[in-house]
Symmetry: C2
Subunit: 220 residues, 2 copies
Amino acid sequence: MTENTTRLRADARRNREQIIITAREVFLEQGIHAPLEEIARRAGIGIATLYRRFPDRHTLVQQVALDNLTLVGAELDRATAAHPDAWGALAQLIRRLVELRLSVIMPVLLPGLEQDARSEGGTLKARRDQLFKQMEQLTRTAQQDGQLRQGINPIDIWLGVIKLSRPLPVIGPELNELITGQQLELFLGSLHATALDASEPLRRQPLTLDELDRYLKMAE
Amino acid sequence: MTENTTRLRADARRNREQIIITAREVFLEQGIHAPLEEIARRAGIGIATLYRRFPDRHTLVQQVALDNLTLVGAELDRATAAHPDAWGALAQLIRRLVELRLSVIMPVLLPGLEQDARSEGGTLKARRDQLFKQMEQLTRTAQQDGQLRQGINPIDIWLGVIKLSRPLPVIGPELNELITGQQLELFLGSLHATALDASEPLRRQPLTLDELDRYLKMAE
DNA sequence: TGATAAGTGGAGGATAATCCTTCGCTTGCT
DNA sequence: AGCAAGCGAAGGATTATCCTCCACTTATCA
């Protein structure tokens, strides 16, 4: 697949990229059975192009998963490079994963993960497990430093990130953005062992009912 | 509607109840556009019965919302009765809401809330607002007691509970149960102002990758 | 710049999901 | 026991989704 990919014409490669990005979003919102036509529409390309690039749903799902693994790996490297302390790295990683909507759900939770879906980096499962090991290292260190709460492991973090990232239906993107930010901070606080700043208020002004209703109205 | 309801034959009333309970679950999982036939099937009744009781989707959604408001209100009363301290009451309430999957999403986030959907307790919106006031009282007191973190209000809690309760697709009920319990504890910890127990480990044994995969296999 | 192969999008038939009604049978209620 | 109320399954109508075909467009490279 890879050698094919590099041989793609420039516009085709752009389209392929856009499909994967959009598919990630849509899969996060609706699950992996979301209509492919919606993905095509939201990606701004024709349905035929999607089918040409990804002959069936399973292929698309797998490619999105591979893409996710790559991106998560890159973010992990970035975070560790930027922060000498494990907790700092972990916190940055979590923030980024939520921010980028890198729904880890695909690679982590994909049924039939054992099936061959290989690219440069090996099978899906092998890469996932490797990523897990890296994160385990990170969490263990953060715990030894007394920064990360005991009893937390990468899976807890992944699943937490998924639930955080997953937008609620009906309420529209703005409100989702807003509450996700708040909940992200709460989540980080709950992971931290020594909850230093828990007694100080959160930065964001709490929503009032009227504001809530305004957002809901917007979303209709 | 109420007087009609009480006149229903006993089996019909049971069915109606069961439809609402099932609809709450399904709406929580899939959103309010979930197929009505699935609700009927999972409730163990015929599709015709559902349509007879609830002529269209909107009616069903509204009735579920009303039912939710009633139950949430009852849980709120129970929690305050059982706990003299506001934080204790709040914590019990949150636990119960998650446990019962009382997706507050319906009454809180329902678009078109202003439309008349009345029952004994008044319009949907009026009852929601009243519930909000009660919870606001509770949160304020808990904050004055130095127990609840500043900057949290009922909406934050409702939305947090919704995200907690909402099951992840694909992964099956057992795993969802498991991680929801863990995340609930984290959430409660993050709400607490003085994070007393944050340095002690969580009770549950963290998942390993192999266990995760076993659960995923089960769910397929 | 122009030839050409690669790529594109939309129309549309096939299939499947969902809606919602009709109707003959069943079951609580008195 | 009788009967009105309730029931569910079948199925026609409608809509959503899948997926292919083909006439048009565009990047690429000489």
